[in-house]
Symmetry: C2
């Protein structure tokens, strides 16, 4: 599994095999079952790399419903960056959508890693830049689109998600009822 | 003006005076009037640092209205990161809300800067991490809150904005009509 992170890092920065082996010691590896939590409310968020599977981040809204705000599949990082950066208790849960393999690093370990491998500043800078672009697009789509377009845009950008993620979670992510999402999907076919 | 960026960088990484002077040559400095554009639709977005003033990023929605997606005041970076990272034409406009002083850097120049000053990878990584945290919070608030709470949360987190930014722009940013925002503000006082 850990070679997936190595391959991913290699797409952005140079790090030899010895370096990569040394770098891995800063991470914890988790193999989680479907619906198992990787972060729970009140804990401090680690920074998580999905090597295999799919996880989601959600909070419980005022109506008591789980509102998914983010998904991550292979090669994506996910974290509550407010909690991670400021070491504050998180208001989110990060949970496996499928059986998943995840590499986790806490802030203190990441700081040590970055001291030992300054080249990784670039890797994380580029990962954050990619996440920021996705996040900006998400806000644009929320504000600029009808609910049907919201789904079409998402399905076009992330076809894999639409196949993999249970329909009720996708509906929650898009702010729909599952019934409404089902209607839109039928319309298309 | 440029010393504002120097001070800001100094909060995160070490860079001596000579280094800073050398670094500045990668930037273009713009002094813009209120409502002057720093990025227009169809152009490639630079990465912008607001040294003085306030700017906003918006797109024109299907109804022909300007939808503000982001503001930036002193010490904040703003960019369409999809356009910037992929060198694609932007769908956004970045415009001065007040008379502003802005430092701009394009992707090629930033790459050169980062080669000369690798320590700046850390600075930009931390800036992106901060922006990601803000963006995640924004999405949470959009999904989890009533419209009135949306305003209260924003006013609490960014009191300075609420004072400085014209009410109709703040309304657009929050997805309100100006009348509705005015109602909420009256209720409070």
């Amino acid at each position: 599994m850990s070679s997936i992170l190595q391959k991913h890092i290699g797409q952005y920065v140079k790090l030899d095999q010895a370096g990569y082996t040394a770098l891995l010691k800063y991470f914890q590896v988790f193999k989680v079952k479907k619906k198992q939590d990787l972060l729970t409310v009140g804990k401090i968020s680690p920074n998580l790399f999905v090597a295999k599977g799919c996880v989601r981040m959600f909070f419980v809204n005022e109506k008591g419903a789980e509102q998914t705000v983010q998904f991550a599949i292979e090669n994506w990082w996910i974290s509550d960056y407010m909690s991670y950066s400021s070491q504050k208790r998180s208001e989110y849960t990060i949970q496996a959508v499928e059986a998943s393999e995840v590499l986790a690093i806490d802030l203190a370990s990441q700081e040590k890693l970055l001291k030992e491998f300054p080249v990784m500043e670039r890797y994380f800078r580029l990962m954050h830049q990619r996440a920021l672009a996705a996040s900006q697009h998400r806000i644009k789509v929320i504000y600029g689109s009808s609910r049907e377009q919201l789904y079409r845009d998402f399905a076009k950008r992330y076809p894999e998600f639409v196949q993999r993620v249970p329909q009720y979670l996708l509906a929650s992510f898009l702010g729909f009822t599952p019934e409404y999402l089902s209607e839109i999907r039928k319309k298309r076919s």
